[in-house]
Amino acid sequence: MPELVILFNDVSKTFRRPDGRGDFVAVDKLSVEIAKGEIVAVLGKTGCGKSTMFNIIAGLIEPSSGEARVIGHDPFRDFDFFRGKIGIVFQNDRLMPWRSALDNVRLGLQILNSDPAQAEATARGWLERLGLSGHENDYPHALSGGMRQRVSIARAFAVDPEILLCDEPFSALDEMTARDLRAEFVRLVRQSNKTAVFITHQINEAMEIGDRVMVLHRPARIAYEARLSAATTDAERTKMHQDIMRVLSVEQAPA
């Protein structure tokens, strides 16, 4: 039995509408199991609750009902337990504009009170691995979109987390840059045997990255799930792609 790292048991999340007219359900009795070392790609249309699921795993919001467990702990209530255990790559790079590339990468290490010399060496090492040598002292505004996203990937990896959460990290980049970064990202995750949850709305990206592809319907509940491996044939992949297209196309418009 593989070690479970993320466990959702009938997790629901309801938000109050901003205009005060009732509530809306973002996640509806979602049950998910993710094992150590797995890369799970979560697909779904905009507003299907992917990001809510993501924020629950990250401990940034609390489920309204059900049980969420990450490394055996409640991510919202045991917030401090997850210091250095979760790395996040967001849709936009979320770099601090007043910090250089190097300082942005070592942010997490500084928060974790790492030895300053060690933190700098680690941050420099990650920038080098991601092809950003020579840009250590550049401020974010001086970097291209792709370079900025590389810095944010380096920042997430620098703390050596057990879990990586990625919320459409390459969606704002051009296809060539996104393809390079995707390949780099998968290589780094596999090398370090980390567990990763990768949220995307692109079928090809999900199938390229994930060991498992999960399609969510609105409000977030699993509508389709499939596993991929090196042994998956082209024909199986094509069939899988068509199935995902079909599942996504039958989804109803939001209420």
């Binding site: 967001f90 928060i111 974010p140 505004h141």
Partner: protein, 256 residues
């Protein structure tokens, strides 16, 4: 080709030179007790700067401005943080601060004279009360401008409160703090003169009162210039701090 910095200085000086020229022309047509010649004003201004007993009055006023601004800044920052954390406190304090903001500086001078004895405490009280609402609202606005995205990103690393303040909150509010200092500096320079005019026995305001009693326009102008010089020097210092602290900001090659 002239550098842009030189051009800037030239343009800034031109306006002042025209003003001085107009004044000088008026001084030739009107009695000197109304419009004393510019050289006389400049000579009196330099006199104050090089005469120890007079310079002390300038420094006393500068210290009062700094003391008042620092007090209002510390108190305003604390209030801003408390208001930002609690809707209840915001509902309670905002009307009070808005009410304070509407009270004229002269009224605070009268209140201070009635309530307190010590000159320095009176001036400090007046300075703090007149600049406190602006400091609080400006710093509160800076706190509220903190990016939700950066907050969530930082929180993902699980920082302590102090670490969060050091790495995110403080750098976020520094531009707002510097603006608050710049805005309140001008207000404070005006208020301190009113406070000294009525309730002090030293300082630029007190000296201005003496010049008025002596009907000495050149002296009044010279003391006024001390205050203007002080504000200019401090503004430039804040600008230099701002240029260093905000050096990460991108600057477009095309001027706005």
């Amino acid at each position: 080709m002239m550098s842009s910095r030189f051009m800037h200085i030239l343009q800034a000086s031109a306006g002042m030179l025209v003003l001085a020229g107009v004044w000088q022309i008026l001084s030739m047509m009107l009695p000197p007790f109304l419009f004393p010649p510019v050289p006389e004003i400049l000579s009196r201004t330099v006199d104050i700067l090089i005469t120890g007993s007079l310079l002390i009055d300038v420094l006393l006023t500068a210290a009062r401005i700094f003391g008042g601004l620092l007090g209002a800044f510390i108190l305003g920052s604390l209030l801003a943080f408390v208001i930002a954390r609690s809707k209840l406190v915001e509902n309670f304090l905002t009307p009070v601060l808005t009410f304070f903001q509407g009270i004229p500086a002269l009224s605070w001078v009268v209140f201070a004279i009635i309530w307190f004895h010590g000159t320095e405490f009176r001036v400090l009280f007046i300075m703090v009360m007149t600049t406190l609402p602006a400091f609080t609202f400006q710093i509160l606005d800076a706190i509220r401008s903190m990016s939700k995205d950066l907050f969530e990103m930082t929180m993902a690393f699980r920082p302590s409160r102090w670490t969060l303040f050091r790495f995110l909150t403080l750098p976020t509010i520094v531009p707002g703090m510097l603006t608050a200092w710049k805005v309140n500096l001008g207000n404070a320079a005006r208020v301190v003169v009113v406070a000294e005019l009525v309730g002090a026995t030293g300082g630029v305001g007190y000296e201005l009162l003496r010049q008025q009693q002596l009907f000495d326009m050149a002296g009044a102008m010279a003391w006024t210039l001390q205050l203007v010089l002080f504000v200019l020097i401090v503004q430039q210092t804040i600008n230099a701090i701002e240029a260093y602290a905000l050096r990460y900001r991108a600057v477009s090659e095309r001027a706005m």
